[in-house]
Amino acid sequence: MLLQTTITGLAIGGIYALMAVGYSLVFSVLNFSNFAHGSVIMLGAYAGYFVLTKAGASFPVALAGSMLAGVILGVTNERLAYRPLRVRNARPLYFMISAMGVAIFLENLVYATLGAHFYSYPEVLGRSIVRLGGASIGILDLFALAFSSVAITGLHFFLHNTKSGLAIRACSFDMTVASLFGVRIDRIVGLVFALAGALAGLSGIFLGMKYMAYPTMGWITNKAYVAAVIGGLGSLPGAVIGGIVLGLLETFVSVYISSIIRDVFSFSALVLVLLAMPNGLMGRYVEEKI
């Protein structure tokens, strides 16, 4: 039972981590909470569903399709809703309001056009179960865990071993100085949103397979923000740890206490972590420089 719960928790935590990393990546560069990230995840889940059913494509094609949809949405979102603010050097509060506007717009647009019903994914990966030392694990959970680890490792490799990755890291320290060294800020910000969008598409298709696709999926993606804060805003290792901690906590609470009050627990965990460590588990202490 213990092993079973741990593995289920890890699988959910993996998806949370994947969502939180995309959100934290944008935060580390642009320093604002991109609340539209959840809507991109939601639309990624829809894109995956439609590619699978309407086009009758196979799972890898659907995966690519939802990642592509995430990339397009993320980049368009940045172009239309954030770039004009960035050019004007607007306050972070304005970015947050704009992001929230995008989230409300997309979520309700889906409501108004596709309706509120749940689209359940066809069985692509099957419901087969792997037995491992007395615990039975769904193949979907295994795939989710595998794909999130690969994606996060890939992102880490990209950030630390390529020129563009170096530019992104430089921008997260200081955008003005980075641009003085010849980094093209517009292109790097576009790249950051493309990467975040791809991660969003990937997490979207797995969330969709696990919980179906519906307009208010955003409620699950909100957990990604909570996970990122627990781990420390703007820190990618923090986002991973926060996601896994939250996933494990929620699974253990639902199994051993009650699944109804699960969300109350995750919220209290957030408040307690912030009380003890004001910058999250891994956050750097970001004081504003003058």
Partner: protein, 291 residues
């Protein structure tokens, strides 16, 4: 009767919007879950009048107190960090969900079915008077030392802190005021509808309050109040567009941030003096045109 009802709801929305205008517009912090404060105010006051038969004003004030306490509990750990308001904004998402879950599972709130048969104490004069009191209170508070501190925190938190302003205290006062307003609005709402249910206080409600503040103008009190009024009355006139209302709110938030971030009435307020000078300017313009 119907018009009276719409106006009463408009007054109630003006109260909650004024609270958020102080928090977002003047202190520069963001909340995604003000509906939770409304819910706490609504349930506290409704339980008091329904089960305890407490007098209405006492119940309302207890509701205000309860949401202020919740604000302190959520605000203290999250506003403590100097790193802007992101932690608080994200904590409010969690707070909204946690509040709903608790309300749906407590015995005294009768779960998701809601509380029916609350006495209908809120009439248009009651709501109107409450709105007027809140607006005057907010104006006086913003004209005080405290209000100037809040504005300086919004403009530049580091500079404000260096001039000796206590960041946490200023932000907390602003939060408690705005949560208190939301609690009052919730209490009035419960005793107007005579029925409350946890699903009434969701993201939709929070969104409407935020949209009113942003459209009305950050740094203005009358702008958001006006916007709250329009946002309550307009959907009544355009029933067909009900489904698209939130789509439009979302689009409006983005468009305003992109094209006119100060909102309808950014940094200005309607006042008698202002109207007089506007009239004078118009007259001058006419004279110029003639000359």
């Amino acid at each position: 009767m119907y018009i009276q009802g719409v106006l009463t709801v408009a007054m109630i929305n003006i109260i909650s919007t004024t609270g958020l205008a102080v928090f977002t517009g003047f202190t520069g912090l963001f909340s995604l879950g003000h509906a939770a404060f409304m819910a706490v105010g609504a349930y506290t006051s409704a339980i008091l009048t329904y089960f305890v038969k407490a007098p209405y004003p006492v119940a309302l004030l207890t509701g205000v107190l309860a949401s202020s306490v919740l604000a302190v509990l959520v605000g203290y750990p999250t506003l403590r960090t100097r790193l802007r308001g992101d932690y608080f904004a994200i904590a409010t998402i969690g707070m909204g969900e946690a509040t709903r879950v608790i309300l749906e599972n407590l015995k005294i709130t009768q779960g998701a079915r809601g509380l029916p048969g609350i006495s209908q104490y809120t009439t248009l004069p009651v709501a109107g008077a409450a709105a007027a009191i809140v607006l005057v209170l907010a104006r006086n508070m913003l004209a005080s030392v405290y209000g100037r501190n809040a504005v300086s925190v919004r403009e530049d938190a580091v500079a404000a802190e260096m001039s000796g302003i206590h960041l946490l205290r200023t932000r907390m006062i602003s939060l408690v005021f705005s949560a208190g307003c939301a609690g009052l609005a919730g209490g009035l709402y419960a005793h107007y509808l005579a029925f409350i249910q946890p699903v009434m206080f969701t993201m939709v409600q929070s969104t409407q309050i935020t949209a009113a503040v942003v459209c009305g103008g950050t740094g203005s009190l009358t702008g958001p109040a006006l916007a709250a009024f329009v946002f309550t009355v307009a959907p009544e006139l355009l029933r067909a567009a009900q489904m698209w209302r939130l789509v439009i709110y979302g689009l409006m938030l983005v468009l305003i941030m992109v094209f006119r971030p100060q909102g309808l009435m950014g940094y200005r307020d309607l006042s008698w003096q202002g109207l007089c000078s506007l009239a004078a300017r118009l007259r001058k313009g006419v004279r110029h045109a003639k000359g």
